[in-house]
Symmetry: C2
Subunit: 421 residues, 2 copies
């Protein structure tokens, strides 16, 4: 038994690092409309002050604030209206004492003015004369040049995942196109004599191929590209041929099933046949997900750049496969292909019951979230190994370190949302 | 002034309801791989019991549990091994007293057996004889037929938004294709003399067209399709022509800018020219977003089915435009096009400072989230009207009802995440 030889998730990361830390990333330019979910390949700085000039934030009259000090309903300030600023045009007037210029919201504030008083406080007596009934402080009604961002201020770091809320600011910065890291291509190979395609009706003892689909959905939403997809019987020969072919056309190869310590464990042997260094880890101290195999194949034919491919044997159980993927593969792809190590989003919730510690294994417990009187509560989903109901009801998961003594009922914990990547 | 004639968001919804409640939704079939982010057009029931037969959840030997009662290291149960179950095949043996059958994890449990004892507790003496050193309870090691789901149990309701975590279960149910509601096509028209395309360098007093992009990103991530996109100068003639054209080719028309009470407010007039009933609401009791215009145009040429188009004039300010979109248009699209009224996800956080109530207006305050010692804290982003830094740093927003007296520092509030739709 190699029960004692399992690695922690952290050890797996350390073992992988030397093979991928020097890897050069490829980039591509995409239209802003298609950039959501991609990862920036460069730091982005403000190209100029934003806004580029002082702008009015109200419909009103630009003037010197001091003219309005002490005015009241009964004693307004009387000013001469010398013109108006047109939207989208430079302000051409100079506001001297006793003068005012009309400025619409968003219009440029003319020289000489230090504030804009809202139209509500002004009576237009005739074409050229205003009575101002409200007083304003210097700066009122004005957004200053550079108030939002200063020229060359870093707005985004390399590796940032572009979300739909970033699109507005990227547009404001003039980025009709952005340079992002290319999507790694990921092969997904399912194995198992009992596994049939999802279009087939499973016979006695058979199950549909869930993993190809659930892993493909995760790869895609993470920003990767699904390459080779194959469903194989348990045959060492077929697996070897398929993995060899997949290595040629994909950056990462995922194999699900066939990695338990049972009869038909060809995965590790096949990975070792592909090249060096081969299998780095045969079993991870995590629950679920222990029978995860991690291997690396260095590309010997590539002289100038170090290149290596990751091969991961994931458990066959649908839930264990996706948990393993998230704990090992997802972080790997984000770090080495996308230069992204942003902390994942978690939400605080109170556990509805006690959870045991993992007895030396890092533990992932799927939970269902419910609104409590204040905040959220998290109910662990108890499911036998192999159950797929967790797939339906798991809103997120609790991650407990290997040496955790568990969590007690009512304790506030951080839940990682299932959908958030 | 029509300050007093504004509607609440709730009133807007009530006004819209009669025009859209009877609208028939169109549907389409999409491959499961492309279903993420779409909305189910039908209830989905389990097509059979899942699992379909009793299955082993361990590698072990199927037997009658009673045979193992009272066994120990020194006095094992001695059983005859009569065969093994092959993965993916029906179990053919009948387990009688004194007999056992090998079953791999996931294999079908043979008739007569009521439990599976793990290989760790069994010594295989020769090809036909086993010594069992551990006792098991009936049901141990077995996942029963229907344990996950019963045949015809409703797993998903019509209107459910398919997320990447649903894909595995849909695959398990055999849905290689799913029927989803069609995407409504949304026109996005930006107006304003000061607005230039994002590819252009803004001159003095000009700004780039942020809204086309930020609204397009929201429409897309919500599951809609961006149709007509146009940037117009402030011209009533141009706007009328463009809206007329857009109504022909889109389900929903969004116009941003031009809806403040300033000089160049053609939007309401143009909506009224398009048909009846025209403008329903000119101003909403919300902050930001007050100058939002909501109109409906009934399609008179369509005799058999009631059809109507929504036209919304959104504020020109980038932040106000997206808040208005989320408060009014997003809920509308989810409800009438996707039959989806799922509660949006929120996370509890403590406010870092006092927030005033909205003085009769429903208030949306953008916040930046930070990890606190326990859970999250939410820092309101103070930004002048027109500021776009909220676009960068707003992780989510706090929604306060019109009559709220505000929120005090340290209070626990529910924050709606910006990216979650």
């Amino acid at each position: 038994m190699n029960l004692l030889k399992v690695d922690t998730i952290e050890q797996v990361k350390e073992k992988l690092h030397p093979y991928f830390s020097g890897m050069s990333r490829t980039t591509e330019e995409v239209p802003l409309f298609e950039a959501v979910g991609r990862y920036l390949a460069e730091d982005l700085m403000a190209p100029s002050d934003i806004p580029e000039t002082d702008r009015s934030v109200v419909d009103g009259y630009a003037l010197k604030a001091s003219e309005t000090f002490g005015v009241s309903e009964s004693s307004p300030a009387l000013l001469e209206l010398i013109g108006e600023v047109e939207m989208g045009k430079a302000a051409i007037h100079l506001v001297e004492p006793g003068k005012a210029v009309y400025v619409p919201t968003g219009g440029m504030v003319p020289g000489g003015a230090d504030s804009v008083v809202m139209i509500e406080y002004v009576e237009k007596m005739d074409e050229h004369n205003l009575a101002v009934y409200g007083s304003v402080a210097p700066g009122a009604g004005i957004m200053r040049k550079g108030d939002d961002f200063r020229k060359d201020q870093v707005l985004y770091r390399q590796g940032h995942r572009i979300s739909n809320r970033d699109v507005g600011l990227l547009a404001a910065m003039g980025h009709a196109f952005v340079t992002v890291f290319s999507r790694p291509v990921v092969a997904i190979i399912s194995t198992g004599d009992e596994v049939v395609s999802i279009m087939e009706e499973p016979g006695p003892g058979q199950v549909r191929d869930i993993n190809s689909y659930s892993l493909a959905a995760l790869v895609t939403s993470l920003g990767g590209k699904v390459g080779t997809v194959a469903l194989l019987r348990d045959s060492r020969e077929d697996l070897r041929n398929m993995v060899q072919e997949a290595l040629r056309r994909n950056h990462i190869v995922l194999i699900s099933g066939g990695s338990s310590a049972g009869f038909k464990d060809y995965t590790a042997a096949v990975i070792n046949e592909m090249g060096s260094p081969g299998v780095l880890t045969h079993g991870i101290a995590m629950k679920p997900g222990k029978p995860t195999i991690v291997g690396v194949i260095k590309d010997e034919h590539c002289c100038c750049h170090e290149r290596a491919s990751l091969i991961v044997g994931l458990p066959g159980h649908p839930m264990a496969a996706v948990i393993s993927f998230r704990a090992v593969v997802e972080d790997f792809i984000r770090k080495y292909y996308f230069c992204n190590e942003e902390e994942p989003m978690t939400i605080p919730a109170r556990m509805t019951e006690n959870i045991h510690g993992g007895e030396g294994r890092e533990t992932f417990t799927m939970v269902r979230l419910r609104k409590a009187e204040e905040g959220w509560e998290a109910e662990p989903i108890h499911a036998k190994s192999g159950s797929i109901s967790q797939l339906r009801y798991g809103d997120g998961f609790l991650r407990m370190p290997a040496l955790s003594e568990g969590v007690t009922k009512g304790q506030l914990v951080e839940i990682r949302l299932w959908n958030e990547v």
